[in-house]
Assembly symmetry: C2
Homo-oligomer: 465 residues x 2
């Protein structure tokens, strides 16, 4: 089947492509993986040819100028340079390039390529081999070109859209699941907006969509955003709050369409409703709890090891260099005083760990516990968002997404802003407002890219320092 695709060179063959994609859709996951491995390994480069071209290129006389620049136009030799470079560019394209290009111009082909990439990504999870990674990285670059924002259409999604499109919104809403038809209708109704990016080749299926609430003030909890009726008239709104952004294509992972979507939506809202001057998000902090629990657990272990060491001979503990005071002395005292059982002899960290791991988030139901935990979790959450890094970027995926888009400030942390099961598990119910200011988007993004510096409101920095 796949041999048929690589064979004919002169013209694209619609039937062969249709057969191939239909056949592929009919395969089991295992057979798809096998096919992808073959594609990755046997349809990459002709390395012998590439090497021959390179030797030929290196044999060419480089015109004057040691920086590789060319001053005078020397027609003959320059032509050869450009020609060989072009040949090299083409020779360095893997054979599967042809398949991708053909599928892209084939009806339904772009959608198929997105499915293909989703399968490649899941195959890599099982078999992380270089040829598959190369296949993925190549297809990703291609998809980025084809899905350039210039080719995407911004669509205002309303209750008048076809059910087949709205069904996609329900299915792919990834932040705050849509519970009922009424819930969906509310999100598309008065005081709300929903915008999606559509590609002409994948009609009726937004690649990514964003939900917006028109409010008087920046909301502090998701409950008030998802509230039954909009509390104010649209003409009184001064704030557009982005409360959800979801992608519908797992095969487009790592391709940042959200950035362009937010920018276009801000421009559009500004134009349509000049009275709206604040653009903010109410965002989840998906990685906070897993970071916090593993941090607390490791510190608790290190502390234990230290105690054993201390009672033994050596004074220098091997682990002690990784030790840090997760809790301040004051916090430790508060926890022990207010939440400790006098007999247990547990540390503050252990007490918090036990509480956070308690079934059904019992801790969140006791006012006494909440009172003690709130300042501690808020401080640690600020630290997590502002200071914890992965390769120089914010560790939290959502924070990183907004910061590299050019979100001006991490504005405010909101306690008990999402009391859903998901909200409590992910971030102990804390949510964050990022503020967008369009004029500074580029500048801020650049400072974040170069230094990793996170812009945040001063009271958040005070929490951390």
């Amino acid at each position: 089947m796949h041999t048929a695709i690589s064979m004919n060179k002169t013209e694209l063959q619609d039937n062969v492509l249709s057969d191939f994609s239909e056949g592929y859709y009919g395969l089991s996951i295992e057979d798809r993986r096998e096919l992808l491995m073959v594609l990755a390994k046997e349809y990459d480069l002709n390395r012998t040819y590439v090497r021959d071209l390179m030797k030929q290129y290196l044999g060419l006389q480089l015109p004057a100028g040691d920086k590789g620049e060319i001053g005078v136009e020397d027609d003959g030799s320059l032509s050869t340079f450009y020609r060989t470079e072009k040949h090299l560019r083409h020779a360095l394209q893997p054979t599967y390039e042809v398949l991708f290009e053909r599928l892209n111009t084939h009806p339904g082909g772009l959608k198929f390529l997105s499915v293909l990439r989703a399968n490649i990504l899941s195959t890599i999870k099982e078999h992380n081999i270089p040829s598959l990674r190369a296949l993925d990285s190549y297809l990703k670059e291609k998809l980025i070109t084809w899905l350039s924002p210039a080719a995407l259409e911004l669509h205002h999604i309303t209750w008048d859209d076809p059910a087949s499109l709205l069904e996609k919104i329900v299915a792919y809403e990834a932040v705050h699941p849509i519970s009922s038809l009424l819930d969906l209708k509310r999100r598309l109704g008065v005081g709300r907006r929903c915008f999606g990016y559509l590609h002409p080749a994948i009609p009726g299926e937004p690649l990514i969509f964003i939900e917006v609430a028109l409010l008087k003030n920046v909301a502090q909890t998701i409950q008030e955003v998802l509230w039954d009726d909009p509390p104010i008239l649209e003409c009184d709104a001064t704030c557009a709050l982005f409360y959800s952004i979801s992608s519908s294509q797992p095969g487009l992972a790592g391709i940042n369409l959200g950035k362009f979507l937010i920018k276009r939506v801000i421009e559009l809202v500004k134009q349509d409703m000049p009275h709206i001057c604040t653009f903010a998000t109410l965002s989840p902090i998906p990685g906070f709890m897993s970071w916090l629990i593993s941090k607390l657990a490791s510190q608790s272990k290190l502390a234990e090891a230290e105690t054993i060491d201390m009672s033994g001979s050596s004074k220098e503990s091997t682990g002690s260099t990784f030790r840090e005071d997760v809790l301040t002395a004051e916090e430790e005292r508060e926890v022990l005083d207010k939440l400790g059982e006098s007999t247990s002899g547990k540390t503050g960290i252990e007490i918090i760990l036990n509480l956070l791991k308690s079934p059904n988030h019992e801790w969140s139901k006791s006012d006494r516990v909440l009172l003690v935990l709130k300042p501690i979790l808020m401080r640690l959450c600020a630290r997590y968002l502002l200071q914890e890094k992965k390769r120089g970027k914010a560790l939290d995926a959502v924070a990183n997404f907004h910061l590299q888009n050019g979100a001006v400030v991490v504005e405010r942390l909101n306690w008990m802003a999402d009391r859903s099961e998901k909200g409590l598990s992910q971030s102990s119910g804390i949510m964050v407002n990022y503020m967008y200011r369009l004029d500074n988007i580029e500048e801020n993004a650049q400072s974040y890219f170069s230094s990793g510096h996170v812009n945040a409101a001063s009271d958040l920095w005070r929490l951390v320092e």
Copy 2:
């Protein structure tokens, strides 16, 4: 100005791009050319870096298998291969790649790039230097990717479309100029269709559009197509006749969008009007007269030279190998008999040449002349379409366009099918019908690509042989 674009690497700068394109639009043609030369020469490759990477790559141990294929996955060394190949791919991209990519995602950028390429093409006409040709070829490849048919929207253009769009149709109609508003309205009205390809990034401006007439039979003259009223009801039509296809962007020269447009239009018409089963064109033959006149002139010179030679000493004429009998003996006699002046001593070729070059196409107004010329011009026109080649493809640009799309047959030549000034100058008024058959499109195109063979109706071949 252009330095600012190549500098910032981390993020795209909307303002800089806007400034650049506005600044560019403000430049005179001369200044634009100068800027393009700088872009082509100073923003291409870093050849020293490319060479270093190549030496590094050639130093890598190629895993077993002399065909350059890799059997066993050897993780470490393979990763290095893929990585270096990726680096090389990127290093071989000229610096102006960045500018093109950024402009493509910038509002109005795609249109700007199309203008840029139009200017590059006109600059090459003046200064045909390798660096400019490389710039053009690179931008062309980019535009082909961005303008993939998957990103284009097929739009049925009607009298209800905005005047700003219809204005473009009038301005860019390249085959049969639109003489008045009434003429335009007729082409969009009953018994007619007009379809255009729109790109989301260039709204309100079809990149290419095609005009269709719904008829009982394949039309023989353009006069009956552009006739005031449609002669039959739409429901009686059995033939969709494509009588004009025009591109609105000189910067997209050489990018074959027409092929996809025709295919999509045929599919659409088939779906909407199942009673239509014939898809044909009524096409101009733009290169016929200039080919014929230069052929006649050179043969006439060669004949003259031969005559002089004959009267001289040598029997072997230097030019004689290029001599051919453009006219058959019978034709020659006909022309001399019916059109020659007994005293002049001119050859048949000379007589025809004089007639064709006569001012205001006087020859076309005399029935006596037409009667003699018709069989000769029709035969030579069949030869021109079916046998004259340029790099293995049909010499006539329109013929080549349809044949490589997969037009099944050159069906019929039509005498005096376009009596307009343009029609007479281009092709002595002859027009041709190409017949499309969707099921064979790929197959025919392939045979044309591989052997250059032209499919034609048998009576046309008989004319030639």
